[in-house]
Symmetry: C2
Subunit: 321 residues, 2 copies
Amino acid sequence: MAVYTEVGDDELARFVARYGVGEVLSCKGIAEGVENSNYLLRTTGGTFILTLYEKRVREADLPFFLGLMEHLAAKGLTCPQPVRDREGTALGRLAGRPAAICTFLDGVSVRRPTAQHCAALGETLARLHLAGADFKLMRPNALSVAGWRPLFEQAEARADTVKPGLTEATARALETLERDWPTSLPRGVIHADLFPDNVFFLGNRLSGLIDFYFACNDMLAYDLAVCLNAWCFESDLAFNHTKGHALIAGYQKLRRLSHEEIEAFPLLARGAALRFMLTRLVDWLNVPPGALVKPHDPLPYYRRLRFHLRVAGPEDYGCAA
Amino acid sequence: MAVYTEVGDDELARFVARYGVGEVLSCKGIAEGVENSNYLLRTTGGTFILTLYEKRVREADLPFFLGLMEHLAAKGLTCPQPVRDREGTALGRLAGRPAAICTFLDGVSVRRPTAQHCAALGETLARLHLAGADFKLMRPNALSVAGWRPLFEQAEARADTVKPGLTEATARALETLERDWPTSLPRGVIHADLFPDNVFFLGNRLSGLIDFYFACNDMLAYDLAVCLNAWCFESDLAFNHTKGHALIAGYQKLRRLSHEEIEAFPLLARGAALRFMLTRLVDWLNVPPGALVKPHDPLPYYRRLRFHLRVAGPEDYGCAA
């Protein structure tokens, strides 16, 4: 659940006036996005999302995120498009925080994605990777392999309180990944957090992607591995091969995976599972008493990690070399 | 902050289909209303508020609340209007809870109400009281004088941990109010919770009232006393006489207070302050560790109560007998 910064009605009216989107009709804090305060803003000019960037987002990264959304939208990918103010600037300040107004996307998140949803996601992910190819700004992935050990060290001493043996198992998985993590696969702009919450559908049609605040430059196939982890496991944490195949085949309709990418896929899937397990574990162990934000349980990502450790090869995911 | 029940996309689509408001375009949980889960629902037919009634609202009271909103809206008061389904029923069930779809109101809550806002509020409150006069359903006010002692008894043993001397001062105020609480003032339907959060403005024009989930039958002037407490004190808790006068004069433009109502006003104001202090105190003392809801501080209402205990007469509020 999102954090909410309170915005006064008068400062809101002054802020919105700069953007030439008409006058404020209503503004509701919405439960979307974990890192920022988001508001559904209705004005005489339309419906928008107003975002206040809270302290977990680095201000220096905002031009990358906003620029990327603008770049992708210009290439026809449906994602929130930052509105520029009368001086041509998208990023402003409101209630003491960096803030931006973006266009509103219709659609709802699916709670139980079908194979058809996964196929549509795969296609759109490939479209995102192709559209991002000529985006000029760079942002390294702070949560790639080099970032995992520092996270592990924050959790190491207490990981066994979450599940006996977790420390040892994580240490072993991390060592292997640090040793074998690929370095020469095709790279580009990735979303890096394309969970079902961040993908909208109208019926079976994918209507848009949101929340680009983890986007960065990294291996393209890693993004697909993140999606596989987030979309292709059932609620009992069994891997659904049909969904995995649909996701990867959907992706390959627009961007063929290379032999190297396919071969590396089990490792990438393991890395993606470890990355989300580690951030969730750190949050889980460090939730302050009385916190307004309930952290995600890290263990479902440990279960995924164990699945990936047992697969025989890329064909187990539905991608044939 | 509101509680959120998660609603699946498929069960939402089925629920909305019954209401003949078109197809779901988006549905966002919003931070509005403390007792219920509220969603801003956009469909091909328009924009609505979807409410899931959580356990703090008694299901048996829902026909009163929904019927009242329908009644008031039919009389021209701008408030959410429940949408009836194809069978003519407003109340349905979604995600295991009673649920309703209401029309969406434009407007924003004001954080620092001006005297002009207070005057507009007074007028609209009088309009609500007049429009409610022929509403047929009844709901006694569970949080009137008879409800205060049970609340006090829940807090009594620990009230001094919040502020030394609070138990004794509250006991004395409660005794006087139980003895002197008026019984023969004009009664009718009251909102009973008309805080700035529940009143929308577009500029200085009051555009609507929301959150009728404390509405009940009680003394009309008590509702005005609740508003005076909620709207006419500054952030340093000093009473603003200009705002008090504006509120009461606005009210009297449409409904004149009787001599008895004016005489009783200081007592009603004290009762209103005690009612909110007590519910906040009980919530404050009983917040579970790790709770998602941050309770309101009860002490600002204790400060108001002390102000009311010191006033010389109704003229101190700006209402002349």
